[in-house]
Symmetry: C2
Subunit: 114 residues, 2 copies
Amino acid sequence: MLNPLLFYKALADDTRLKSLLLITEQQELCVCELMTALDQSQPKISRHLAQLRKANILQDRRSGQWVFYSLHPALPAWANQVLQQTLLANQSYLAPCRQQLTLVSGRPVEQACC
Amino acid sequence: MLNPLLFYKALADDTRLKSLLLITEQQELCVCELMTALDQSQPKISRHLAQLRKANILQDRRSGQWVFYSLHPALPAWANQVLQQTLLANQSYLAPCRQQLTLVSGRPVEQACC
DNA sequence: AATGAATATATGATTATTCGCATATTTAGC
DNA sequence: GCTAAATATGCGAATAATCATATATTCATT
């Protein structure tokens, strides 16, 4: 029960769109990982992630001092497909962020498939 | 070469999203058809369509006194798929508009497939 | 319990979008 | 050429979204 208008409003911001696409690709990311990937301030990242969480697009999971965000399991299939297609077809939009992305837990950075 | 952020900004407005989805479904629509379908003023519809045209998402074609808008032929495949999926998966969002839609040329109103 | 790192939120200022209204433009029919 | 219908645009007002800064919270470490 996610209204398409609310969904696209959530995507209509550079910080939120890049965060969402990176999370779609990497399964889950924490605030500080997105801070360095997008080179944005902590309150800015946190605020936008909170917005996506309130819209039921993301879920969060606390692990010690970190809070990891991932796609909400109840996200409609069509929304999921929209994110996947946008990710695959717009690698150049995301490339600079992925390059700056370093994961705090040491796990490897996922590469776009294909 | 349509930036995903610009594309989603274009979808992040009720008037524009409904117009785009209706056009995706009906192939092409003119301003006055969208006015009645969405129950909005002429300048409002016209202004939003102009915005979509400037973003290279729509193209326009004049036929007598009417200007018909359709999806731009150079619209990237991923954007096209996003529109199609959004349309198919959100019939209830569009239903009231489609119900009020009457075509000036007398051609039949397309129904959502499936 | 004190400190520091990571995250969240409150708030006022700034900026971007949208709107309504008035008016201009284009075309068809007379 | 005049009028009416359809469409487009200019402009200031209203609304919404975003931002930076400051501060609060939570947890691990000592």
